[in-house]
């Protein structure tokens, strides 16, 4: 019995680990190749015209970060006659509105949208829908209010979209601008780099799949019109949108040349709330689509849904099971038959984890430091394990919500002002 359970746990865990190993290989190859077509695409731009772009920035009480974000937007290297920056002031009670209005008076292409209190509070999806309503661009780009895109970011998103007609959306890379702030932000920084080079780049390389993140991506106006904007009910509006884009027959290209920098939570509490929202959102999406995935036209995304199902249900189950067996075995001899080889596998899992993370870090020019290396060694036993508690908590909340038919609430990630002492 214990042996069977252990084998089940081991199988699930290693299916995931092998898949990620495979993804990391793809991510590395994508890193080597993604920039190659840029020269050719630049040449073709003479025949293709750059599209008109509307940047949507939902903002709800963002006075701490708003100004810096707008300044980065203004510095974007993109023809200003083809650019409009729509900042959706979603019922802010702080100075966000004033800051937007101020910059609107300086730059005509910055367009404020003040959501009426009656329309407000529908979360990020709601705000994006409001912005989309007034936008005119052929390409809609989305940034979070704390983002400072690099000057070429929009250009690269547009370049890839013009040159790749099958791409419904282009996803850029995001970097953490407060990575050095504390241990938590260092963890998050490492995590985001891994996510992007392993999951995003890897999946794109092997399967032409990428997930739309919350920020630094561009999508064709035609698609949004067809989809009638964002799903206001979705907690993880980006995952939801991803599935719908694939279902229309497009793919989503991961193009890391377009880079933005964003702020990550600096307090565990904030981090916990944000991640709980993500986990719940993804659990919601998995359950929603998994039971009708046969109706999805694009089967490649089904594969990705299964991946989510693995992550939030099976892998989680495997880890819990394996952990429990390990713990019980400390006190009671369960006569596990695979003791020796499972030890070797455990060591390999750890080594694999380290090398994978190191590759993700090494791809970025400044991340492969001794400090980060030690953080990575340590992270496996700490930060990574928190994920288990998080999934349990998220599952609890989702179950509660479904059972008691609770209203969904949108939790907005708290920002941190770095100018303040």
């Amino acid at each position: 019995m214990a042996n069977t359970l252990f084998i089940i746990a081991l199988s699930i865990i290693w299916m995931m680990l092998l898949y990620h190993m495979f993804l990391m290989q793809g991510g590395y190859l994508h890193y080597l190749r993604y920039a190659k077509p840029i020269v050719q695409w630049n040449e073709k731009l003479e025949t293709h015209l750059l599209p008109t772009v509307s940047i949507l920035i939902p903002a709800h009480n963002e006075e701490v970060v708003m100004e810096r974000t707008i300044k980065a937007m203004v510095k974007l290297n993109y023809p200003k006659d083809k650019l409009e920056i729509i900042i959706v002031n979603d019922n802010s009670s702080d100075g966000t509105g004033e800051i937007i209005e101020y910059y609107h008076s300086l730059y005509s292409y910055i367009i404020p949208v003040h959501v009426e209190p009656s329309e407000a509070g529908k979360g990020k999806s709601g705000a994006l829908n409001q912005g989309f309503k007034v936008s005119t661009g052929e390409m809609i780009a989305v940034y979070d209010a704390d983002n400072t895109p690099e000057s070429m970011a929009i250009y690269y998103l547009a370049l890839a979209m013009v040159n790749d007609p099958k791409a419904g959306a282009i996803v850029g890379k995001f970097r953490v601008n407060n990575a050095g702030k504390n241990l938590l932000t260092r963890f998050i920084n490492i995590e985001t780099l891994c996510f992007q080079w392993m999951a995003q780049a890897g999946r794109w390389f092997w399967f032409h799949i990428a997930t739309i993140p919350g920020t630094n991506f561009a999508i064709r106006r035609s698609i949004l019109e067809e989809l009638e904007g964002w799903d206001v009910k979705a907690l993880a509006e980006d995952t939801e949108l991803t599935i719908r884009v694939y279902n229309l027959g497009y793919y989503i290209r991961f193009f890391p040349a377009a880079t933005t920098w964003e702020q990550e939570p600096e307090h565990w509490k904030v981090w916990w709330k944000q991640r709980t929202r993500w986990a719940r959102g993804n659990q919601y999406v998995v359950i929603k689509f998994l039971f009708r995935f046969l109706n999805l036209d694009r089967k490649s995304i089904v594969f990705d849904l299964i991946y989510f199902f693995f992550t939030y249900f099976l892998f989680f189950f495997g880890v819990i099971l394996s952990g429990s067996i390990f713990a019980i075995n400390l006190f009671v001899d369960l006569e596990l038959e695979l003791g020796f080889i499972s030890m070797i596998l455990w060591i390999l899992a750890y080594l694999l984890y380290i090398t994978e993370v190191m590759i993700a870090l090494s791809i970025e020019k400044d991340q492969m430091s001794k400090r980060n290396f030690i953080t990575v060694l340590f992270m496996y036993f700490t930060y990574s394990q928190l994920w288990i508690a998080l999934v349990v908590y998220a599952l609890y909340l989702e179950t509660k919500r479904v059972l008691f038919k609770e209203e969904m609430k949108w939790y907005k990630t708290e920002r941190f002002d770095h100018k303040r002492p």
Binding site: M21, M24, Y28, I38, E150, S151, L338, L345, K365, M368
Partner: protein, 523 residues
């Protein structure tokens, strides 16, 4: 180390000086054909029919038929009739027998009906005799229990070859007219078997003076065997020019812990067996002792896996043996063994299988063993420093020595103290005209899936090993399917980790270059 070198040297010497060819399975000839015809109530061959079959099989190939199944005798060189009950034989059959051109050996009841051919008259009563003797020699033996024989008189043209005694009186047991023979008992086992074996040489017109062969089989060699002691035993045998025959089990289940050990758990044993095999030792496969609930298919699987496991280490058994203290095997086990092996080395004495429990004194090829050659362990075994398994060795050797081409075969357990072995070898040395049996110079074969082993009279062993690398690997390390998968994962992941480390080095080297590129891209 020194001991090892000595062994190597001594064994080389043995191999060098004992290269004479041994005739394969003595006199067994497939050209001579006999028919065993029996009359009993059941109309199926019984234990005694099989004893007869076994004894004859040393000289000829036989068919076994009930008296109502015979229509034609033209193809046979010898006719053996054995009557277990009084019965009026068909006229048709009697005509056939009477007209039979070749020798008839008539055993037991109903001889009166054939008086025209065999001048023996059965008086209708029986006599209990206690001893048996050969007329033309001083040879006399006592039966273990009284033997019931037919009371007969015989014509003047017949002469007595074997007689039995009770008190001061003697009674004919085996008589002949020079062509045909009559045996006055259908209870062939016990000492009668040996006497019959001797006279069968005359029946089949084979020189009685053919030599005796001897062997000592070392048994109970398995992954938990004490290698040091085994080395002592094999060194001693080699030093005495005795060919080494090792009965090996690739697995051993500890009776207390129930833990199964495999060859992989004893690399020392593997090394030992390989070097002994290289030096000419014959490895034979020890047939496993199965419990009753094991299915035929599982048994086959175990045998195949055992052979493949041995072969994965390049240990090639050339015959099969049943362990001397194994009592529970069935006819099915014999059948299974015969599917894979051409030769069996065993004693049937302790078997509870009636057709198998009477061991002939020489090499046979009984019908019920499906053409498998049986090299008998006629002298019993020594186990656990106790010679009780040895069957009155002196007397037994003397008995056997009088039987043409008899085999003196003994089993010694690998852990038995050397002094017992020495004692036995001394006994062997007293037997004149014996030659040690070189199993490797016999024409033997072993076939299992992916494995085919064949030895020939030159002592060459041809191997056809078609096992895939994965299969060999599996046996060598005793991996389950799951372990194969897991070790494959280990291999794949190790390759990837290595690749990732190389990528890291490459990325490090390219760092300056990428810095430059990125700066250029971002303007």
């Amino acid at each position: 180390m020194r001991l090892m070198n000595l062994t190597v040297m001594l064994i080389s010497l043995v191999v060098m000086f004992t290269q004479w060819p041994q005739p394969a399975s003595a006199n067994i000839s497939s050209e001579v054909k006999s028919l065993i015809l029996y009359s009993n109530n059941e109309n199926t061959p019984n234990e005694q029919v099989y004893v007869l079959d076994q004894l004859i099989s040393h000289y000829s190939k036989s068919d076994i038929k009930a008296d109502n199944e015979v229509t034609d005798l033209t193809n046979y060189d010898y006719l053996f009739y054995i009557g277990f009950h009084s019965k009026r034989l068909d006229r048709y059959l009697l005509d056939l027998i009477e007209d039979f051109d070749n020798p008839i050996i008539f055993i037991g009841e109903n001889v009166n009906q054939l008086h025209q051919r065999i001048g023996v008259t059965d008086t209708g009563s029986t006599i209990d005799v206690k001893t048996i003797s050969m007329i033309d020699s001083q040879r006399t033996s006592a039966f273990t229990e009284v033997k019931k024989i037919r009371s007969i008189t015989f014509d003047r043209d017949m002469k007595k070859v074997i007689e039995g005694q009770r008190g001061n009186y003697s009674y004919p047991i085996f008589v002949t007219n020079g062509v045909d023979y009559y045996l006055a008992s259908h209870q062939l086992h016990d000492k009668l078997m040996y006497y019959l074996s001797t006279v069968l040489a005359d029946v089949f017109k084979v020189d009685r003076a053919s030599y005796l062969s001897a062997f000592i089989k070392i048994e109970a060699i398995h992954p938990s065997t004490d290698i040091t002691h085994l080395t002592k035993v094999t060194t001693y045998l080699a030093a005495n020019d005795i060919p080494i025959i090792l009965s090996v089990s690739p697995t051993y289940e500890d009776p207390n812990t129930k833990k199964k050990n495999h060859l992989t758990d004893s690399p020392m044993l593997v090394q030992k067996l390989l070097s002994l095999q290289e030096l000419g030792a014959a490895i034979i496969y020890s047939y496993p002792s199965f419990s009753e609930d094991i299915s035929t298919e599982e048994k086959r699987e175990t045998v195949e896996e055992g052979l493949q496991e041995l072969a994965s280490y390049k240990i090639y058994p050339i015959a099969v043996s049943f362990s001397s203290n194994m009592t529970t095997f069935t006819k099915e086990d014999l059948d299974i063994a015969s599917e894979y092996f051409s030769t069996l080395i065993a004693s049937g004495k302790r078997s509870n299988l009636s057709i198998f429990k009477h061991t002939a004194p020489y090499v046979t090829k009984p019908t019920y063993l499906n053409d498998m050659v049986w090299i008998p362990e006629t002298l019993g075994y020594i186990e656990t420093n106790n010679t009780s398994g040895v069957l009155n060795i002196k007397g037994q050797m003397n008995d056997l020595a009088l039987i043409p081409s008899a085999t003196l075969g003994m089993t010694v357990h690998s852990y038995v103290d050397l002094e017992y072995l020495e004692q036995m070898v001394k006994e062997f040395d007293t037997v004149l005209g014996k030659r040690w049996l070189h199993l490797k110079h016999w024409d033997l074969s072993v076939h299992a899936p992916y494995i085919s082993i064949r030895s020939n009279v030159n002592g060459d062993v041809e191997i056809d090993n078609q096992m895939s690398l994965i299969r060999e690997f599996t046996y060598r390390y005793q991996l389950t399917a799951l372990e194969i998968v897991l070790w494959s994962i280990v291999l794949i992941v190790s390759i990837f980790i290595t690749a990732f480390l190389l990528y890291l080095i490459y990325l490090r080297i390219c760092l300056r270059k990428s810095l430059f590129l990125e700066r250029k891209r971002n303007g």
